[in-house]
């Protein structure tokens, strides 16, 4: 039963490309394993060149994995019936620019084997849902990136798929467009669609996903449910304290001597501290004793951005360049 609920499973997926005149091997993806269950939403994160798009292309049978196995609705991705249950939005989608949105969707609908009356009914409905009803008969060549993105999303929904695979769905959209697409994706989740999407906009992933998989140079560096990864159950607080200049060092030492208190930032006499929430009463007492001022006190939890930076940008040299990983072809 559990396996029936697995609509997408990657097992030790790896892809090696040969590049350049001498055919140098470059491992774009290595040993990626993950499972997406029915109704779940998974965010696929990673810096540029980390292998996100390569993995997605493997899932959709656009490229063949060098090693590993992919199961899409229990079948190989080369199976057209399995792909029929997927709605895909490519990164920076391009369509035939001499067609109108209505014609693009009609073309896609024919490939899905939708009959004429269904296409006639669904196409204007979807274009309207994506805010394109005013432009459905205009050629795509004059469209902005954001409008093309909407056409891309509309075509991905045409067959009413069970799984949506979106590669950077929010890129190229203006703030209003992003909000609308985010709301649409949330709505699709509520309708029971499973979502697998890559994004650089971490707050969107935090809002829309149950789980994340973070890639760095082709490898999984963190994976799991957001609640586990972000330690949501661990209560921490953050305090901004301004110390008196005459007793700066002694006051600082006193505060840092409290159990679990960690200095995260120091700007002259102003300290940013992180501490367990149960130490907050002790901190306020120490602040009063040291004649310091408590400027700010807030509840803290790890953000996805912190996790992403911590896991993906793990080695930064002094000149700001990311150091190559051992065994990396780079």
């Amino acid at each position: 039963m559990a396996e029936q609920d697995d609509i997408l499973a990657l097992e030790h997926l790896g892809k090696t490309f040969r590049v350049g005149f001498w055919g140098t091997k470059v491992q774009a993806v290595r040993d990626v394993s993950l499972v997406l269950k029915r109704g779940e939403s998974l965010g696929y994160l990673g810096p540029n060149g980390s292998g996100k798009t390569t993995s997605i292309k493997c899932i959709l049978s656009l490229i063949q994995p060098t090693v590993g196995k992919i199961r899409l609705f229990g079948a190989d991705p080369s199976n057209a019936a399995a792909r029929a249950r997927v709605g895909y939005l490519p990164e920076a989608p391009y369509f035939y620019d001499y067609l109108t949105p209505r014609e693009v969707l009609d073309y896609v609908g024919k490939l899905y084997g939708l009959d004429g009356s269904t296409r006639k009914k669904r196409i204007p409905m979807l274009l309207d849902r994506l805010g394109l009803s005013h432009a459905m008969d205009r050629e795509l060549r004059g469209f902005s990136k954001g409008m093309l993105q909407r056409v891309g999303i509309a075509q991905s929904l045409l067959s009413d798929p069970d799984l949506l695979i979106y590669d950077e769905p929010l890129s190229g959209l203006d703030p209003i467009g992003r909000k609308e697409v985010r709301e649409l994706m949330a709505e699709l989740r509520r309708e029971g669609k499973s979502l697998f999407f890559s994004s650089h906009v971490l707050t969107d992933i935090e809002t829309l996903c149950d789980a994340v998989c973070i890639l760095d140079r082709g490898e999984v560096v963190a994976q799991g449910r957001l609640s586990d990864l972000l330690r949501m159950d661990k209560l921490e607080s953050e305090a901004l304290v301004e110390l008196p200049l005459d007793t700066l060092e002694t006051a600082k030492a006193r505060l840092l001597a409290l159990p679990g208190v960690e200095l995260t930032e120091e700007l002259g006499p102003v300290l940013r501290l992180r501490l367990p929430t149960d130490v907050v009463p002790g901190l306020t007492a120490a602040v009063v004793d040291a004649r310091a001022t408590l400027r700010e006190l807030s509840q803290h939890r790890d953000s996805l951005e912190e996790l992403f930076v911590q896991k993906a940008v793990h080695m930064v040299s002094s000149d700001g360049q990311r150091a190559p990983k051992a065994g990396s072809p780079e």
Binding site: A80, L111, G113, D160
Partner: protein, 281 residues
């Protein structure tokens, strides 16, 4: 029989030969539509029509009994060449454009097989070339009529064989397009056409008692390889026979058509093998 995949409220017809043919025709229709907007295509078409009209003026310079012959020969020479040029130019970029413009990435994840997509592209271009040939033939017939000539059955048969040659060159372009970048695939397709047109000459040179092809072993080996791997396109060119008034037996057309379609099948099959395995990075 078409198998229906019931999918929530929507019914997707994706299995069975009817659905497969429908997808092939959908891609063909779009290819036809795209190629039909190609400025190069219309440019070539326009120039050729002007040249056919010009042949009427040119024929005024010919002797009285040669006027019709000049227009006939001109059409026989120019029409296939223009269609071949269109096949090379459009065929060489047939798949590359889809990959370069990333339009393929939105299409192939749909429930369409790569073979269906490729056959659709080939069918679309073949139909466009057929339309081009028919249009030029109509113009040619009009020009012949102006000169007092008639568009005979023999001329129609010659154009029919020319179309087989055009299909063959298109399939070669499709194969090279699946394998390499446009310039290289254009050059290779042109190579197949040029060598194919002179295969009979190479054969004659190898059978001669003197000359490089007869005396130098390396040249002889090269000649043998070329004759073996390149189709003999002179089979489809019966202009000389028409000019000499030689009538060809009906089975010649049958054999030539079968020979040409075999090569078309061979190139399309190779294209399918290459495209099926290609990583679309």
């Amino acid at each position: 029989m078409s198998v229906q995949t019931t999918h929530d409220k929507l019914t997707l017809r994706i299995d069975g030969p009817v659905a497969a043919f429908s997808r092939i025709f959908t891609v063909a229709g779009n290819t036809l539509r795209e190629a039909g907007r190609n400025k190069l295509f219309f440019g070539l078409l326009g120039v050729t029509i002007l040249m056919l009209i010009f042949s009427v003026l040119l024929s005024d310079l010919a002797l009285a009994d040669q006027k019709i012959r000049l227009v006939t020969d001109f059409g026989l020479a120019v029409i296939p060449l223009v269609c071949i040029a269109t096949a090379v130019l459009l065929g060489a970029v047939l798949l590359y454009k889809e990959i370069d413009r990333k339009t393929l990435y939105a299409i192939l994840p749909k429930p369409i097989r790569r073979s269906e997509f490729l056959l659709g592209k080939f069918l679309g271009l073949s139909l466009l070339l057929f339309g081009q040939l028919i249009l030029l033939a109509v113009c040619w017939a009009g020009v012949l009529h102006l000169r007092g000539g008639t568009f005979s059955m023999a001329l129609a048969q010659a154009l029919g064989l020319n179309y087989i040659e055009i299909l063959l060159v298109t399939s070669a372009a499709l194969f090279f397009s699946a394998l390499s970048r446009p310039v290289l695939s254009g050059v290779l397709t042109l190579g197949v056409f040029l060598v194919g047109r002179i295969t009979y000459v190479i054969n004659d040179l190898m059978q001669a008692t003197k000359g490089a092809f007869a005396e130098v072993p390396a040249m002889r080996a090269l000649g043998r390889v070329l004759v073996a791997i390149v189709p003999d396109l002179s089979t489809f060119n019966i202009a000389d026979e028409l000019q000499a008034g030689v009538s060809l037996p009906p089975d010649y057309f049958v054999h030539a058509t079968l020979y040409g379609l075999s090569w078309v099948g061979f190139f399309v099959a190779l294209s399918l093998i290459v495209f099926e395995r290609r990583d679309l990075v």
